[in-house]
Symmetry: C2
Subunit: 233 residues, 2 copies
DNA sequence: TTACTTTTGTGCTTTAAAACATTGATGAAG
DNA sequence: CTTCATCAATGTTTTAAAGCACAAAAGTAA
């Protein structure tokens, strides 16, 4: 257990989340029942086969969610940031988890029990509507991704991943360095390629002046060119 | 316009659909407002960029839904059968369509206007819940598919597609012939491969005695073996 | 029918990406 | 500081799948 102070309530009060449509009373009720957890970098939050027992909100940190594929090869299907949710698909499908969530840096989560979530869905139509919209949007991303992961070539896929990481986590203060530090293997698993190819292609991008590399620090030097590589496929 | 008589109400009364939770009055109200359409084989029902104006139910026929990828290559993301819905993702995400739906045989659809759908979502929590569950399940399929399409080899992907077609459309009276007749190109677009490779691999399966081919008629001879090929990747 | 287009089937070539092997960094643990 | 382990980098080989070219078959329309 860490000593760091985390504002767990940020999950509920965030104006962009599905909770924005809740009444103050509903929010208070959730807050009273939050079950919060801390995870160290590398720790598993849930894994394939686990039964979901509530809606997990990532309050602080970063999390990768991946599926095991053929021969144990993992495909990263989501990168979560605060304040976002993880594991909700299995919860609402009433299935066991089909993916594994691992903290890629020290992280904090809050869990809202299943019963409370369903109670809200039944009592607040706006909440249901925002969940439906969130799922429909997410499904759109997933389908887009299926097409790009299968059709783009290595350079296109890697470029797309880098742009995706930028969009998700943004830049450090220098306005160029990606605010997320992944291993080459994770970058490969996100982009559907082998680790060697991720390394090779990152080097290629660096020597072309599109990005800068310093260990796990990746600096985007020419975003327009990176986007062009991504779009060309 | 065809003369064939279609029972359009099957969309609403189907016990397995999301409408099963509606009251008789709600169902009657929908039925009064149904907008029905007939499409000939090959006709477009909606295309990428169109604005959805309601929930489309496929009442009769078969429909493929695909996205245009790199270089215009199409990836089939859904195969719809009666009684199922198409185009609902864009509707609920409040986006334009990100995919195109084409009838692969003469088909009939009913459209439930957007306003009526949203009115139901607001008034009937069970309806919302079943929509949420449907989306969560669908997202699960999509994520599974992303992994198999990217990680399995050609034989595995094709075998998976054939099993998928069997699960979706079932068999003819002989209990072996797939009850759907796709071009080799469509089979390829479903399985993320080129047409030549689909043809080649189908021939290979046939000569191995796993399937039988007679034009577009595909007979599954050894389902267990086909599933094994699919699982091995 | 005939002509024309589309679809299917094959063989051959090329290429992108995986697999493998090895070495050099980097970093944590004793 | 040294040792061990993980991670990154790079070159080489192998292979799966795409690309291409062409011929045969099957639909489709005039």
């Amino acid at each position: 257990m860490q000593q760091k102070t985390i504002n767990f309530e940020n999950c509920i009060d965030n104006q962009k989340s599905v909770f924005a449509v809740l009444t103050p009373e509903e929010k208070e009720n959730i807050k009273r029942h939050l079950i919060c957890n801390l995870y160290k970098k590398g720790e598993i939050i849930f894994k394939e086969g686990d039964k979901p027992n509530g809606l997990i909100c990532l309050s602080d940190g970063k999390v990768k969610v991946f599926k095991e594929g053929v021969g144990g090869r993992e495909q990263i299907i989501r990168m979560a940031k605060p304040v976002g949710f993880i594991g909700y698909r299995a919860l609402f499908a009433e299935e066991i988890h089909h993916a594994t969530a691992v903290a890629i840096e020290d992280s904090a989560t809050c869990l809202i029990e299943k019963e409370i979530v369903y109670q809200l869905l039944r009592s607040n139509p706006d909440f249901s509507l925002s969940i439906i919209k969130a799922f429909a949007t997410e499904l759109g991303f997933s389908l887009d991704r299926t097409v790009t992961l299968t059709q783009k070539h290595i350079r296109g896929r890697l470029a797309e991943s880098l742009v995706f990481l930028k969009d998700t986590y943004g830049f450090e203060a220098d306005n160029a360095t990606l605010k997320v530090y992944l291993s080459r293997e994770d970058i490969a698993n996100l982009s559907n390629m082998t680790t060697s190819n991720a390394i090779r292609t990152l080097s290629a991008f660096a020597s072309e002046g599109v990005i800068g590399i310093d260990g796990r620090k990746i600096k985007i030097i020419d975003l327009a060119k990176l986007e062009r590589i991504s779009d060309l496929g």
